[in-house]
Symmetry: C2
Subunit: 417 residues, 2 copies
Amino acid sequence: MAPKNAFYAQSGGVTAVINASACGVIETARQYPDKIGTLYAGLNGIVGALNEELIDTSTEPDKTISQLRHTPSGAFGSCRLKLSDPDTDRKDFDRLLAVFKAHDIGYFFYNGGGDSADTCFKVARMSELMGYPVQAVHVPKTIDNDLPITDNCPGFGSVAKYVAISTLEASLDVRAMSRTSTRIFVFEVMGRHAGWIAAAGGLAADYGLPVVILFPEIPFDEKAFLDRVDANVKQFGFCSIVVSEGCRYPDGTFISDQGAKDAFGHAHLGGAAPIIANMIRSRLGHPFHWAVANYLQRAARHIASAVDVKQAYELGCAAVNLALAGRNSVMPAIDRTADAPYAYRIGTAELKDVANVEKVMPLHFISEDGYGITESCRRYLLPLIQGEDYPPYTSGMPTYVTLKNTLVKQKLPPFAR
Amino acid sequence: MAPKNAFYAQSGGVTAVINASACGVIETARQYPDKIGTLYAGLNGIVGALNEELIDTSTEPDKTISQLRHTPSGAFGSCRLKLSDPDTDRKDFDRLLAVFKAHDIGYFFYNGGGDSADTCFKVARMSELMGYPVQAVHVPKTIDNDLPITDNCPGFGSVAKYVAISTLEASLDVRAMSRTSTRIFVFEVMGRHAGWIAAAGGLAADYGLPVVILFPEIPFDEKAFLDRVDANVKQFGFCSIVVSEGCRYPDGTFISDQGAKDAFGHAHLGGAAPIIANMIRSRLGHPFHWAVANYLQRAARHIASAVDVKQAYELGCAAVNLALAGRNSVMPAIDRTADAPYAYRIGTAELKDVANVEKVMPLHFISEDGYGITESCRRYLLPLIQGEDYPPYTSGMPTYVTLKNTLVKQKLPPFAR
């Protein structure tokens, strides 16, 4: 009997290292041609499965696949799409099943965060309900670091490194300017509901720089915040502020809410930095500069964490090995065994315990005043930013690969969702 | 006769490589103890001279000074301060002269951009008018790349590299997201009056990515711009926009003007990106993300251009050599002799030809439609971003040096400006 084919796709916000996971999945699958046939990648995540837009990854030579390891963004395209519930609405699943049957797909690897784990969990549930065997394995990825069970999520370490270094560099800049010019630097970072990314800015405080962090976990208290900033300006001459896009007033409204919502009903945020900066100028009078990193932070493969790249790759490999071991509805996870020297092993999590569960940052990671990180947070973060895994460069620019993404011939009529 | 002492200071916006120039100045001065006595650094630029806040750089060991080469920001502090005109108001110059006499300073090295060249030129003029011999040599530095005569300015190449790489990385990100989510990425970069920095975003277009640049040189035409963006979204599914903070409407008003002004009367800008992004959403309906790099771009020593670091260092060395050769009121300058392979030599410019002269970007560097760069611009830019001069890392973070900045004993009464 010919081996079953496999489907792999990337979902949700892409990262600096999600392609390293893709590299791990594809390279490992290629080692077992007797067990895994063709590995198809979905063009734009699960959308590619629904639309029967399947990329034949076997047309890419090994060398090109290996270059995915140092290429940011999602090489096959990603999506934000919430599938229907297979228990109440089978439309999406009838289609997925038809596509999987048409292309003899028996392995499903989905690479994403919490919303994507939900998709992967539903595919496993569909397989069970509809009696078509598909082994669904989730490959964790999210800069938000909010998946449960796994100690950390691929993508986060590199964002943390970017945010820590950027906070350090910009703080040194404002320090130099503070005598006659800028005294305040406000740096907005991602993290809709959890302060993991903002916390990384606290690593710059190790350099004796005054860094105030505004976490989503701590309701924004304008007076206390301004007092703290002013005290730093009086003591140091300047102050850096790292503000999470998820920073909220006590009534729960975001400091900056652009009003738009994404496919999952989440508010589409941005612009907390200018609001905080203008607040400081109008109340304290200090001249400011502000920056919003947005996509730059999660795309910054040029300064990726070597630990993060390594783990992203290893989890891709582990996902295939779990499938080959007969596992279903699971996710490989990082199991930290020591902080210093850092040690971890690859464990396994059941998707029922992962899907739609959001891991918040422990409150003991936030200092008592609410504006900094604790020693236990530092011990958690530091291992994740270790090492520099620089991409190769050609003529001054990183050599990121773009795949051919050749689609296989469609066998089914078009699908209208 | 004991050799004269020297004064060095950093002025204007700091950069990723201004400390490499400081390193060149200090290391070269140390080679000639028979000709240059103590090298004092001004704490916070010329303010340090006026306030007699002089840092004794001789207290720093050679190893620490060598670390300046890979440390961003201004190690001695910078300032934005416009001196009075020595021909009409001698108050500042009487004080400077008193401080220079008190500390036997005969060499003046000022490291900055156009406004700082004006300061250096005035010091040379003061020396002439007041009969006290000071050799004033300017060390060029400005991310704005707008100094005349020199082919390029230290600091610019590293910002260009950062902007080119960031544009590439974020464009790959939005490309992956564009099927169901973000289609527009707007990236705001510095460059108050000239589009040099924004032009660097055009290097990402070499990767087949749709990048639209909004230059300060081209009056903003909303309809033509939106048509262009929409055409890109139709063709590619997404579009990246690099907008200069100096982008202006045809009547000359900046797209975003926060209303504040700096010491030189320049508008303090920021926030063009959200304005452009919201314009696209309201007119075309495309979902967007936006980023404002601000200080991050000029502080990003972690991805500095090796050519830029080398030139910054060499110009620091050259400034001291010019002074030792008896030159006054001059600036070492980059004289490009070939594009590919890139070659240059260090020439000399007279400060009278540099102070208060702003080099705009040649219009033939901008493509005919006004939204991209030409091949001649590409030939100009590419050599400046060559090579990666990574700083050393300790425990995942760059090892940037902070100096002791020990002040020498003051000999004069305080100065009130």
